[in-house]
């Protein structure tokens, strides 16, 4: 667990390759690679323009506005922020335990989010790479290309995503800017008509999700040389786990393992997260680098997200997903799998689990109940943690006597994966770029490694006219000697 290639000895003597921003990743990211005259890689850094304006945006606002406000931080996973904030504020209003109806409605919303986000990532962002290859024609390496070559796969991706969005709409009130979760519970339950409309489609959704797992499993197993080694690095991993060690996206306690799967800590109440996790600032990146305090900066970094979760839990509570988890664990040979491309396989196992949980919830009449709110002893501070599609998400707030937010701290999933993504990019640069002429296909290898983590770069601004990707090779004097752009 070292930081090889993070900082070159004499950067002023090297050529610089910048990938800015990383395509098909939300928001802005930039990879810089310093090469010498023989194209040998000396330094690789993934820079992410993180909005540290988050906290400022929230401070001074009444706490009850926060679950709605935070959805505007990110257009990609607003539900995750909505629910993580609501969970933190449950603590502040003294809602130790939600009513069964409220908790199940929140779970339904969250698993709908998980389903639609994972479907979008797999069918839209990654299937082009997986179905066509990393070096394939750039004009076909996108969802439009997938739709042309594999119309049924593309259509299922659209319908899975649409179904997840519909789950969010009926639980949150609207597809975007919903207000379903409030501190202490929920403000609406499901109508019978809404539930029945979802029930009508859920069996297709479960079936298609199973097919998606089998598709990625097949792709992975067919080329183990690539899929088991591309961008590989070993690391600790962390997630919340639910009751009895179940995979749980909504609630649980913190568990962390080392790279061999040995427990580092377990059953940790996330209200105490800051006793276990610290964030390091490095001068070259806006995004912080979290690590486990007990292991220190150099050895304490970790990965989160599907690959961590599926291997951190003891079992999955739904039968099809549990069967697929066992297949995955068997394939890995009983030790943790660390290959970044295995994120895709585990992501599809999670999508299947989300579909099965949604099916089970839709058969639970608690969803129709109207006992939705609880409150208790008022507190001044609360932490909410949720497993967002991309990994563990922390929201931590303090409020004053006037109910205004005085402190907000967010550790988003992508921040938790910051060091891990840097390591993956360095491995790929060392393996594929070292000593070779840089081409678009080779640069896409870098992006493939980043996309495996499904990072969310927290930018919902997407105005027309933005250049999605520019790559420049700059010589020692700073002159642009070669450039690639995609618009």
């Amino acid at each position: 667990m070292t930081y090889n290639l993070e900082t070159a000895e004499h950067p002023e003597k090297l050529r610089r390759v910048a990938i800015d921003p990383v395509s098909r990743v939300e928001g802005h990211g930039k990879v810089t690679i310093l090469l010498d005259e023989q194209n040998k890689v000396h330094q690789v850094r993934l820079h992410i323009v993180e909005f540290r304006g988050f906290e400022k945006f929230i401070q001074g606002r009444p706490y009850w506005e926060v679950p709605v406000m935070v959805q505007r931080l990110c257009g990609i996973c607003p539900v995750s922020h909505h629910l993580a904030a609501s969970k933190a504020l449950d603590v502040i209003v003294g809602a130790k335990r939600l009513t069964p109806a409220a908790e199940k409605l929140r779970r339904l919303m969250h698993y709908g989010q998980m389903l639609q986000s994972h479907a979008l990532h797999f069918f839209h962002l990654c299937s082009p790479d997986l179905l066509f290859g990393f070096d394939s024609d750039v004009t076909k390496r996108n969802i439009v290309g997938v739709a042309a070559a594999h119309p049924e796969i593309a259509k299922r991706g659209v319908l899975l995503r649409k179904f997840g969005q519909e789950v969010i709409r009926v639980t949150a009130g609207k597809r975007v800017h919903g207000t379903g979760a409030v501190p202490g519970g929920m403000n609406k339950s499901l109508t019978i008509a809404e539930r029945d409309a979802l029930l009508k489609d859920i069996y297709h959704i479960v079936s298609w999700s199973r097919d998606a797992v089998h598709l990625i499993q097949k792709v992975h197993i067919q080329d183990p040389g690539l899929y088991n080694s591309f961008g590989i690095f070993r690391s600790n991993f962390m997630s919340i786990v639910g009751h009895n060690g179940d995979l749980d996206f909504y609630h649980g306690t913190l568990r962390a393992r080392d790279d061999n799967g040995k427990l580092i800590f377990d059953d940790v109440d996330y209200q105490q997260y800051d006793k276990y996790i610290e964030e390091e600032v490095r001068p070259w990146s806006y995004m912080k680098f979290p690590f486990f305090k007990s292991l220190g900066k150099e050895h304490g970094w970790y990965k989160v997200g599907p690959l961590a979760r599926v291997q951190n839990c003891d079992q999955i509570s739904t039968p099809f997903a549990e069967h697929e988890r066992r297949e995955f664990v068997d394939y890995a040979g009983g030790t943790p799998m660390h290959a970044p491309l295995a994120y895709h396989w585990t992501r599809m196992i999670e999508m299947l689990h989300a579909a099965e949980v949604i099916k089970d919830l839709l058969h639970d009449d608690d969803l129709l109940g109207d006992d939705l709110m609880v409150e208790g002893e008022r507190r001044m501070e609360g932490v909410g943690v949720i497993e967002a599609p991309r990994g563990t998400l922390f929201h931590h707030y303090r409020v004053d006597e006037n109910d205004l937010i005085t402190m907000a701290n967010l550790i988003v999933s992508t921040t938790n994966n910051n060091q891990a993504m840097n390591e993956a990019v360095r491995h790929v640069a060392r393996r594929y770029l070292n000593g070779r002429e840089v081409t678009e296909g080779l640069l896409n290898h870098i992006e493939v490694a980043i996309r495996a983590f499904d990072p969310c770069l927290s930018c919902a601004t997407h105005a027309l006219g933005k250049m999605p990707l520019a790559v420049e090779l700059v010589d020692v004097e700073g002159n642009v000697v070669h450039s690639l752009s995609r618009s």
Binding site: S23, R24, V25, E26, G27, F51, G53, F54, K56, F57, M69, R72, L73, G75, I76, P78, L120, F123, H124, L125, V138, T139, K140, R141, N142, I143, V144, G145, A147, A148, P151, A154, K155, G157, V158, R161, K162, Q165, R175, V176, H177, A460, T461, H462, A463, L464, G465, K466, P468, L469, R486
Partner: protein, 163 residues
């Protein structure tokens, strides 16, 4: 009953001039109600366009995509758009042309005549309000929009493109 016209208004209301789409959408909803045209136009507001929006094109006669533009001509551009495969790399958000292409591939037929109203914005920072300049641009665009909704035909909209 599916309304013959669908209007997608795209943007994040809390990111400065990215709010142009939602602001126009809110104004349009009120105006359509006052004009008794609400059943003729479906309004869909979202942070960004994505693959599932192709499904919202089903059964339409016309589609309009309203979005903020960065470094685009002021006060706005109104143009007809067509399905395009030239979307080599995108973020999680799709350009309108790619949504049309996903529709074409999924449905096996051409999407309805589609247009984009791209209104120039200036600043896109989190927590910032709409700039005054963007407000003027949005007002100018809204004038055009009212005319389009009064004449919801492809011929009339094509004529407006060439004005």
């Amino acid at each position: 009953m599916t309304a013959p016209v669908v209007v997608f208004a795209v943007g994040n209301p809390s990111r400065g001039d990215d709010a142009i789409g939602p602001v126009i959408c809110g104004r349009l909803a009120k105006w359509l109600a006052n004009e008794n045209l609400a059943d003729q136009v479906d309004l869909i507001e979202d942070f960004q366009l994505n693959i599932e929006h192709a499904l919202d094109l089903q059964g339409r006669e016309l589609a309009l995509f309203i979005d903020a533009g960065q470094n685009t001509p002021a006060p706005f551009i109104f143009a007809q758009i067509y399905p395009s495969t030239a979307t080599g790399h995108t973020t999680h958000a799709l350009p309108p042309e790619a949504v049309l292409q996903v529709y074409r591939q999924m449905e096996g037929k051409e999407p309805p005549p589609s247009f984009v109203l791209c209104v120039r914005g200036e600043k896109f920072e989190l927590g910032e309000p709409l700039t005054a300049t963007a407000g003027y641009h949005a007002a100018a665009a809204f004038e055009l929009l009212m005319g389009l909704c009064r004449q919801p035909t492809a011929a009339a909209w094509e004529k407006a493109v060439h004005k």
